[in-house]
Point group: C2
Chain length 393, copies 2
């Protein structure tokens, strides 16, 4: 592990830097917590007897993906074809692109398959199946297909008993395109709080996917893959009978939304934004920092939670939270720290130049604002590596 | 103008590409509207007799800045030292860094001054002045200083009559550091709607800055620069007596927040996100597109406006809005288009693969999600240039 980390020197070209010295704002990743979060879900899914296909859209980092698969090819899930390109170039060759495929992206998908990537794509309409069938007519590489199933009315997908599920399968068979199976995502599980309803959401997700797979099989089609997943349901599923794989993304970092849903403790959150105090407004009870929404993202995912964390929960430089200190407001490059309304919590003494770490509402959104992770381990302040992130489409 | 644009070929290496063909999601910039927006504010400020120091944090692009200053060195305003580095490298040498200076950034600021940049920095405390004075002790390049004044309780800054304004000036004088003047920003003008209250906000901004400058002068200090600005107040100020310069950023692109505040027409908005339809849920009245919050940002700036635009207002590929069609919800790479609640507007016929353009709530936030602008002109669909954006700190 240490060797992996030391492959990439920290920012100042070799000399060890610390959280006191690096430039702010900066995205900090606690690799010890990352490894612990990965191990927790991996163990859980092993016990449930299903394969794990982590979603790398949260991290968008080869270095993080190597903590999931030290040398392997996946399996992984991606949310963009740019992610597929990036991870394929690093040797990941078992990839599911889990966003509905638009016809104009078929050429790019085929190029990836032609380069040897075992790529699964997602569709939920006859039109998409026909577009794939048309593309296949001239021969050449084609991706495998998963049919998106709607388990909770959250986003896209066909209902498990929709006749279009079978119609799509028939179109693909005629075109000699591999139908790999079905995929669903319990996005509504994010509306749960404190763990309540998550086991039921997981069972709903399982049941919908399995029902659609059985519909396909009754009609003479194979459905080798029955894919479900979200971080909340992956952590609360009791029974995954009939499911072959689970997807999850934010589980590796966790965040304040996941804490509010009841999936993790505050101490499990592996990412934070390091910031520096740049001013005070004692008349208003404000401490100003150099991390605004550009560093935190505009994600206000806890806004409707019983505990609204503003733009993030404030910790000291070692990551220990003040329970009622939040970034209450943000402009592009300014954050305003306040005591949580109603808490009456005193403001800590943080002179100009002091450093704090902010736990984010949503790790995927906050991560996307940064070019790299500054990696720490074992609660230390030393930055042991800088891991780049990719972006774009 | 055409020459400038053609300097950078569009995505496919020379061959003309169009909005029908480029990959989505993509950030589209209408250079004709950009130029019109720039000319509008430039003319207004010329009439008011003040200098214009545009804020380049909205665009983060040399190519956009070149529409403001075809060959010049500025003056510009920046929100990060990374912006200062980037624009300085392109020849912009008159720069104000308009975020409160933390002591650990002094070394980087001095390096920029040492490279020949006429750099102004912002402070609002005795501690920051003392940190600058300490840094100056050994000699070497130092930035000029502006004192941040609070005109509306929005963020940082000293009240115009605060004795600390004079104390800071005295500390700087003893250390032989140039006190350039005062700076304020009427951030609360964003709370106005339909233009109401903006002239008053502009007058409050002017009066606070002028009062602080007069306090300095009464105490024997110079205050050559009296800097005010926000896009709303810049467009509604009636009298800028005593002000020497105006700053504004989002004016160049505009967005739905500015439309809601009453500063621009929908047709003035120069940036949009091009997206492709990837699915339908007729049972729910949804059209799904491949632009989620990663492409739009999580900014919900119109959430509390009388007209809530969701994650953005939907236009056809030529940028003509459907008045009641919005991106009502978003996940990382999915947007859900719906009729505005209560409007009863019919959904347009948009088959899978159709292209739409989404006007953003907040141009600064949406722009930050993208690596480059795809530039169009004169209402045409041809992409005449790709302009990169910078990021980071």
């Amino acid at each position: 592990m240490v060797e992996t980390l030391l492959e990439k020197p920290a920012r100042n070209h070799g000399e060890m830097v610390t959280l006191e010295a690096i430039e702010t704002p900066a995205l900090i990743l606690d690799a010890t917590k990352l490894d612990r979060n990965i191990e927790r879900l991996r163990q859980r899914l092993t016990n449930l007897g299903v394969q794990f296909r982590p979603h790398v859209k949260t991290a968008k980092s080869i270095d993080v993906a190597r903590r999931l698969f030290a040398e392997g090819r996946g399996p992984i899930t991606v949310s963009t074809l740019a992610e597929a390109d990036y991870f394929a170039a690093a040797g990941f060759s078992d990839i599911t692109y889990a966003v509905g495929l638009s016809p104009d992206k078929i050429a790019r998908v085929r190029a990836l398959v032609g380069e040897g990537v075992d790529l699964g794509v997602l569709i939920d309409s006859v039109e998409q199946a026909q577009a794939l069938a048309e593309a296949a007519q001239g021969g050449g590489p084609m991706p495998a297909v998963l049919i998106e199933i709607d388990c909770d009315g959250h986003r896209g997908g066909l209902l498990p008993n929709d006749a279009a599920v079978v119609e799509i399968a028939s179109i693909l068979r005629l075109a000699d395109i591999e139908l790999r199976g079905v995929l669903t995502h319990a996005g509504e599980s994010y509306a749960c709080r404190n763990g309540i309803g998550l086991a039921e959401a997981a069972e709903g997700e399982r049941a919908a996917a399995v029902a659609a797979a059985e519909l396909l099989r009754r009609n003479g089609h194979a459905a080798l893959v029955v894919s479900v997943g979200s971080t909340p349901t992956a952590h609360f599923a009791r029974n995954l009978a009939g499911v072959t794989e689970v997807r999850a993304g934010v589980f590796m970092f966790f965040d304040l939304v996941m804490h509010g849903i009841g999936v993790c403790a505050l101490d499990d959150i592996a990412v934070s934004v390091l910031a520096t105090v740049i001013g005070h407004r004692p008349d208003k009870g404000w401490i100003l920092i150099d991390a605004g929404w550009m560093a935190m993202s505009r994600d206000r995912g806890t806004q409707k939670h019983p505990v609204d964390q503003g733009y993030g929960l404030v910790c000291d430089i070692d990551g220990v939270p003040w329970p009622d200190l939040i970034v209450a407001d943000a402009s592009q490059e300014h954050g305003i720290i306040e005591a949580r309304p109603g808490s009456g919590a005193p403001l800590p003494d943080l002179p100009i130049g002091s450093r704090v770490r902010i736990l984010p509402n949503h790790a995927c959104a906050t991560g996307a604002q940064h070019e790299s992770y500054q990696v720490v381990e074992n609660g230390n302040r030393s930055v042991v590596a800088t891991w780049p992130r990719m972006r774009g489409w």
